[in-house]
C-alpha cells in the first residue's frame, strides 16, 4: 500500500503543476491539445524516472560542490536520448513539441527531484518518486490540454465533439494562462473541500 501512497502523492498532494507550480513553460507551451499535453508529460516522466534512478546510484560518489553541474549533465544526457528515440519512432509528436523536448533539461521539476529526493534516497524509492511525480505532471498537462482543446477547437483527442470553431483564444497563448489560472482555482476549491 505504501507503494500506491508514494505514487498518489505526486498526483494530488505534491502535484508539480497545481501545488508546487513548477515546470510552467512546457505546461503552458505544449498543451494546445490533450494529446500533445499527454505526450509532453510522458516524455518528462521518462526523463525524470531515468535521471532519478541514475542520480540515486551515483550521488554518493559526487563531491558536494559539483553536485548541480553533474546532475545537469546526467539529465541532459537522458533528455537527448529521449529526443532521439522520439525523432525515430514518434516523428509527428516530436515536431509538434519541438523546442520543449530539449528544454526538459531546465525543467525545475527534474532538477528539483534530483536534488530533493533522488540524492538522498535509494534506487527503488527514487524510481517510484519519479513515476509518481511524472504521472502527476502528465495528468495535469492532459487535463489542461483537454480543457484548451475542448474550448478552443471543440474537440477532444482530435475527435470533433462540438460544432463550429470554438473559442480560438484558448488555443492561443493568452488562453493557456487563463485556462491554467482557472483550473488552479478549481483545484484549490476541491482540495479545500476534501482535506
Amino acid at each position: 500500500m505504501n507503494f500506491l501512497k508514494d505514487i498518489s502523492k505526486g498526483i494530488i498532494k505534491e502535484n508539480p503543476t497545481f501545488v508546487l507550480i513548477l515546470g510552467m513553460c512546457p505546461t503552458l507551451g505544449t498543451t494546445t491539445s490533450a494529446l500533445n499535453g499527454m505526450g509532453m508529460g510522458l516524455a518528462t516522466m521518462v526523463v525524470l524516472t531515468l535521471s532519478n534512478i541514475a542520480i540515486s546510484l551515483v550521488s554518493g560518489q559526487i563531491p558536494g560542490k559539483v553536485r548541480i553541474p553533474s546532475y545537469i549533465v546526467i539529465i541532459a544526457a537522458f533528455v537527448t536520448v529521449v529526443q532521439f528515440v522520439m525523432q525515430a519512432y514518434a516523428p509527428g509528436l516530436y515536431s509538434t513539441l519541438g523546442l520543449f523536448i530539449p528544454l526538459i533539461v531546465v525543467n525545475c521539476i527534474v532538477l528539483g527531484r534530483a536534488e530533493a529526493f533522488a540524492s538522498k534516497n535509494g534506487v527503488l524509492d527514487s524510481a517510484i518518486d519519479g513515476i509518481g511525480i511524472g504521472l502527476g505532471f502528465t495528468a495535469s498537462l492532459t487535463v489542461l490540454g483537454f480543457v484548451r482543446e475542448l474550448l478552443g477547437s471543440g474537440s477532444v483527442f482530435g475527435i470533433k465533439l462540438l460544432e463550429g470553431d470554438g473559442m480560438l483564444v484558448f488555443v492561443l497563448a493568452p488562453g493557456a494562462f487563463i485556462a491554467l489560472g482557472y483550473l488552479m482555482v478549481l483545484f484549490n476549491k476541491l482540495k479545500s473541500r476534501i482535506l
Binding site: 510552467m24 507551451g29 541532459a76 530539449p102 533539461v105 531546465v106 497563448a173 487563463i178 489560472g181 488552479m184
Partner: protein, 199 residues
C-alpha cells in the same frame, strides 16, 4: 531595416514570455516588485547575450565541424551553467554594486528556460523577417537574442507593476497567489496579441 524588423518581432510580436512561454518560472516567481523584476531582467539580458554568442560559435565552429551535433543540449547547458558562474565571479570583483543588485538572481538563471531556449532557437530555427527563409548569421542571431531578452524584461516589468496593484485589492481566497497571477498574465498576453500583424 532588417534589424528593426527582428527587434520589433522579438520584443513585441513574438514576445518570448507571453507568446512562446519561455522563462515563465521566474516570470511568476520574482515578479512581486518592480525593482526585483527589473534586476532579474537585467541579469537575464546580460546572460542571454553572452551565452548566445558563445553557444552560436560553439555550434558552428566546434559541434558541426566535428559532426557531434548530438552533444548540443549537454554542451549548451554546460556553457550556460559555467558562464553564469563566471559572470558571478567577475561581477563580484569588478563591480560589487552591480553584483549586489543582480547577485541573488544569477544562480536562478541557469534553470531559466529562456536562456537555453534562445540559444537553441538561433541555431535550429529558420527565420524569414520578410525575405527568404534562412538560418541566422551571427549578427542577426545576436540582435534576435538581445531583443528577445529585452522582450522578457518588458513583460516582466509590466507584469510586476500589475502585481503590485493586485496586492492591494481584495482577491477571493481560492484565487490568491498563482491563479490570479496567471489570469493577469493571460490578459497581458491578450494585450500583446494586439501587436500581431505589426511585422
Amino acid at each position: 531595416m532588417e534589424y528593426i524588423i527582428i527587434i520589433i518581432s522579438a520584443v513585441f510580436v513574438n514576445n518570448i514570455l507571453l507568446s512562446q512561454f519561455l522563462g515563465v518560472c521566474p516570470f511568476l516567481g520574482v515578479s512581486n516588485k518592480v525593482s526585483t523584476a527589473a534586476g532579474m531582467s537585467g541579469a537575464v539580458i546580460f546572460v542571454i547575450a553572452v551565452s548566445t554568442l558563445v553557444t552560436y560559435l560553439l555550434q558552428y565552429y566546434v559541434l558541426i565541424p566535428l559532426g557531434i551535433e548530438f552533444m548540443q543540449t549537454i554542451a549548451f547547458i554546460l556553457v550556460i551553467a559555467a558562464l553564469v558562474q563566471m559572470v558571478e565571479i567577475i561581477l563580484k570583483k569588478i563591480s560589487p554594486s552591480l553584483y549586489q543588485a543582480l547577485g541573488i538572481f544569477l544562480p536562478l538563471i541557469t534553470t531559466n528556460c529562456a536562456v537555453l531556449g534562445v540559444a537553441l532557437i538561433v541555431v535550429t530555427k529558420e527565420f524569414t523577417f520578410g525575405g527568404e527563409a534562412h538560418m541566422l548569421n551571427l549578427a542577426e542571431a545576436m540582435v534576435y537574442a538581445i531583443a528577445s531578452a529585452v522582450g522578457f524584461g518588458v513583460a516582466m516589468v509590466i507584469f510586476a507593476g500589475l502585481r503590485e496593484h493586485l496586492d492591494l485589492v481584495n482577491v477571493p481566497k481560492v484565487f490568491k497567489g498563482a491563479p490570479i497571477a496567471l489570469i493577469t498574465a493571460g490578459i497581458l498576453a491578450l494585450a500583446f496579441m494586439g501587436f500581431a500583424g505589426l511585422v
